[in-house]
Subunit: 284 residues, 2 copies
């Protein structure tokens, strides 16, 4: 393929369901001239509670399916898949830059934190896998990382209950213990509580309001959707594959099941109306 | 197989995950001399948000896997699977009684309700499929049925947040509109609000306390786990396949993924300790 035609090629974005649409939204805003193909593996979601082996296998299948669309770059817009599937996807798919959400988020957190005391909330799978903890410590070995699962946030975001008394109650339940002085790790030389919070699941930016009300204005909130989109933009520039600024951006949406629900719930995540007819059913 | 050896055979119980363990618990209490094989399709849960075709396909695969264990009876302990998969399972698996959770629950609701105004809460898939509504109206054509999805209950039960302020807030969110006078259907000749509530998802009995606090003491709550266990007991007696009272009951637990999580979350549902080693991994 010529360089010109490679620049025209779409960017593949993959997630277990609709959560990655927050990453797609950030990508579309930062890269308005790009073409995107988004695949949500709705038939097999959620990945957050499944075993690492299963998630790695599902992720590789989805990534391989996206390569059939001639993508020039692959974004793993799912924290769980990024944390356990990235190595395997990189080993199997060559010649295409593959970008996960964990590393950009970890870098942004290390940049944002003054004290080095960083909190991470994510799904059960991401927290147990320890990928954020490892990524942050590899960049900033003196950091103190407290990671806790906040799985109810996923259900709240999917149900459109991301604002209101239930969201506030749930945000308090997860975040108050994380931001209480007693959670300070003995090895942590930093402040008595975290000054930075990583939203380590693509669903969580939907609950930013409720989260902010619990942690207060001083805590820096790192949204890996934004940081991942910036990373993709930089990387495409570096390898000379950014779209021509005259090109008109576009989006193609694929899902493995439940197109009506994908469209309905996804509209909230993407903040633009999606009709069920706009979504194509694919079988992995 | 002789009748004596058929009586010795296990009862197969199938669910998408851990929710059906509330049905297994009721079965073990009512039928202490039976042997049970429980299969949780944890690799592909939840069924409640997936399309009917996908759920029917998954359910049939799981039911067929259980027949390999020589079961004498098959219990579909998942409302979503019962609502869309039962016909297909009955068509493919012969000579084994197959019992879902919807019909027993619908019968119990019709027996319990005086006014004929019945509320049902379930997953999105079960409500949209309309199986409870049809089953109740086929038994009691004058009934007025209001069915609403309450999917957050699933996440709350799985996370062990079935009691406390979050559970109370969520229960109020789902149930107050259902039990407000304005929801009365114009065709309903009964009371201005439901006198009976069907818990149309196997996870929901875990939230019985929070649900009771919202609906009050007067409303009859139908738990399909109990009614299904009674139906199984009756049917086994009728066909002469009930276990010998001298037989010692037993349980074998199978799951398609995440054995550690199945054991941890399942222990709460079954109300007895399950170790990850007690759960066998099967591939469908």
């Amino acid at each position: 393929m010529s360089e010109a035609s490679r620049r025209l090629a779409p960017i593949g974005v993959f997630d277990s369901g609709v959560g990655g649409l927050t990453v797609l939204k950030a990508l579309m805003t930062q890269l308005p001239h790009e073409r995107f193909v988004y695949l949500g593996d709705t038939a097999r979601l959620p990945y957050g509670t499944k075993s690492p082996e299963t998630v790695a296998r599902y992720s590789l299948q989805a990534a391989e399916a996206l390569t059939d669309y001639g993508v020039k770059c692959l974004v793993i817009a799912c924290n769980t898949a990024s944390s356990v599937g990235l190595a395997s996807i990189r080993a199997h798919i060559e010649n295409v830059p593959i970008i996960g959400v964990i590393e950009p988020g970890a870098h942004a957190a290390c940049d944002a934190s003054r004290s080095g005391h960083i909190a991470v909330i994510a799904t059960e799978g991401t927290v147990r896998g320890g990928a954020y903890q490892r990524a942050i410590l590899s960049i900033r070995p003196d950091a103190c990382v407290n990671a806790e699962p906040a799985p109810l946030f996923v259900a709240l975001a999917e149900e459109g209950l991301h604002e209101g008394p239930i969201a506030d109650e749930v945000a308090g339940h997860y975040l108050r213990p994380l931001f209480a002085p007693k959670t300070v790790h003995p090895n942590c030389s930093g402040a008595p509580f975290p000054d930075t919070l990583v939203l380590g699941c693509t669903h969580f930016p939907m609950l930013a309001g409720a989260i902010r009300r619990v942690v207060g204005e001083e805590v820096r909130i790192v949204d890996s959707a934004q940081t991942t989109a910036s990373r993709v933009a930089t990387q495409l520039e570096e390898v000379g594959l950014a779209a021509d600024p005259k090109q008109r951006g576009s989006v193609r949406l694929l899902a493995t099941d439940g197109l009506e629900r994908f469209a309905r719930v996804g509209s909230r995540f993407l903040e633009r109306s999606i009709a069920a007819d706009d979504v194509e059913l694919v079988d992995l």
